[in-house]
């Protein structure tokens, strides 16, 4: 056929080939491992330093040191991963799975079981002491900036 009707070959192929799309809501999409879907927190490691809150380009993350909560508005989050880069304790991660749409924006809040170091209190156990001093160091670094 050559120059004449060059699309014919493709047309015949189309008739006998499988569709390139998937039946989306019925066949769920499989995400690769690296997909940046949403930000997750490992709350046990969080020291409430607030680095993620200050570095977040759209300002989606709020860290409340007094109320000991870490919250994210997933509708504002742009999944850039800068908070993950900045986190001094590496407790944030980006995992597959997108936020589902909803009628209104809401925040997702996590209560963080972190005890801020008290200057006068004596550390109870050596293991706890190291984490506390590390935490204090991170906090002082934050203040210095």
């Amino acid at each position: 056929m050559g120059q004449f009707l060059p699309f014919t070959k493709q047309v015949i192929k189309n008739l006998f080939s499988e569709p390139a799309t998937t039946q989306y809501p019925f066949v769920p999409r499989e995400y690769p491992e690296r997909t940046r879907g949403h930000v997750d927190i490992n709350k046990d490691n969080c020291i409430l330093c607030g680095m993620c809150m200050r570095s977040c380009p759209p300002g989606a993350i709020t860290v409340d040191r007094v109320g000991k909560t870490w919250s994210i508005n997933r509708f504002d989050c742009v999944q850039c991963g800068y908070c993950v880069e900045k986190c001094p304790k590496k407790c944030l991660s980006i995992t597959p799975g997108y936020q589902e749409p909803g009628p209104e924006k809401f925040s997702y809040t996590v209560e963080v079981p972190y005890e801020p170091p008290k200057p006068a209190a004596k550390p109870a156990a050596p293991a706890a002491a190291t984490s506390v001093t590390e935490g204090a160091k991170a906090v002082s670094e934050t203040k210095a900036e």
């Binding site: 060059p6 699309f7 493709q10 047309v11 189309n14 390139a20 991963g81």
Partner: protein
């Protein structure tokens, strides 16, 4: 003298997914002049430098455009690295080159689809977007994002690609090359396609220079200008020829872009062969002070970045001149004297990205 009228065209138009408005002065069916206006989605990204520090601006720069997002981030990072005298590790340069060329591939496939849609060849549109989808999947597997990659950082890149992933990509691209070849042959030989493209929207080389056209628009007029030959990132190690055409019409622009698709695949293969095993980023300390002018070759043409820093963490000025902005004067030139029915097609041949232009 015929009947003169002014026809508003856009910002909402079935052929154009993006908001550009043209006031077309018509004499019967012939366009006498076109007056463009933009800014319907102006976001003021350049002025965000006063609120976001220079590290966060990487993520802002990426969001200038959805198609060349990687290149915008890369251009911005290169400009800041130039100010701060940061030497980027070689592997990061290669990774940037690979991602940049993949962006070019997916941008050109997207454009081919839009062009086919523009002249009403819907199944070609579907086929080029089907092929583009595979590139997006490759992006998702390597960076985690399909459109916005967020892998650039000042001093290198954030994510590495392991060797088996690179080999897998090359294998997939080799398979795709045959399919792309089949599809682009239709663009280059089909009678209906040719009747819509050949001898339409002629812009001569001299005019292209005078109007400041960039990218495939310029190369289709026989001007050999490609910023990749400047040797930024890893391009100085790679072997490639600038693709030009001397036909000056819409068909030539299509031809140049199709040529660049295969060139990109070839460049990615070369990169995978040559990629060195080093670190992927260097630690950058201190604040930038000074200014820099960087030009990178985006799929749509040359983009210009001017970064001016004052020694604090907020930049004084971040200027992006996107390729579409530079091509608008050339577009008004091609529109003069064309038929009204060809206007959507001619707007498409500059590969307009109005979101880029607005910033």
């Amino acid at each position: 003298m015929g009947n003169r009228s002014i026809v508003p065209y856009g910002p909402q138009h079935p052929v154009l997914p993006e908001p550009i408005h043209l006031d077309l002065v018509l004499e019967d069916e012939k366009v006498l002049a076109a007056i463009p206006s933009i800014g319907f989605i102006h976001r003021g990204l350049e002025s965000l430098t006063s609120k976001k520090d220079f590290n966060e601006m990487v993520y802002v720069a990426e969001r200038i455009c959805g198609i060349c997002s990687f290149m915008h981030g890369m251009g911005y990072c290169m400009a800041v690295e130039d100010i701060m005298n940061v030497e980027v590790p070689r592997r990061a340069d290669y990774l940037r080159t690979i991602w940049a060329e993949m962006s070019r591939l997916h941008s050109h496939l997207l454009w081919l689809g839009l062009l086919a849609d523009g002249f009403g060849f819907e199944s070609l549109f579907m086929h080029s977007w089907r092929l583009r989808e595979k590139i997006l999947d490759m992006f998702e597997a390597s960076t985690g994002g399909r459109v916005i990659f967020s892998v650039n950082t000042i001093g290198g890149v954030l994510k590495d690609m392991p060797a088996d992933m690179l080999q897998d990509f090359v294998r997939q691209l080799n398979d795709m090359e045959k399919e792309i070849r089949e599809m682009t042959d239709i663009f280059l030989t089909d009678y209906t396609v040719k009747s819509r493209l050949v001898d339409i929207g002629i812009i001569t080389g001299e005019d292209a220079i005078r109007r400041g056209a960039v990218g495939p628009m310029m190369r289709a007029s026989g001007i050999n200008v490609d910023m990749r030959k400047n040797g930024y990132a890893a391009y100085n190690d790679l072997d490639f020829e600038v693709i030009t055409s001397t036909k000056c019409d819409s068909y030539a622009r299509c031809e140049v872009r199709i040529g660049e698709i295969f060139q990109s695949i070839d460049i990615i293969r070369q990169c995978v062969k040559k990629i060195p095993d080093t670190e992927i980023n260097t630690k950058v300390t201190g604040m930038p002070n000074g200014e820099s002018f960087i030009r990178v070759e985006q799929p749509r043409g040359e983009a210009f970045y001017h970064v001016r820093a004052n020694g604090t963490k907020f930049l004084d000025r971040f200027r992006v001149r996107t390729p579409t902005f530079a091509n608008i004067p050339a577009l008004t030139q091609t529109l003069q004297g064309c038929q009204y029915g060809d206007v959507p097609l001619l707007v498409l041949t500059i590969d307009p990205c109005i979101s880029c232009t607005e910033r």
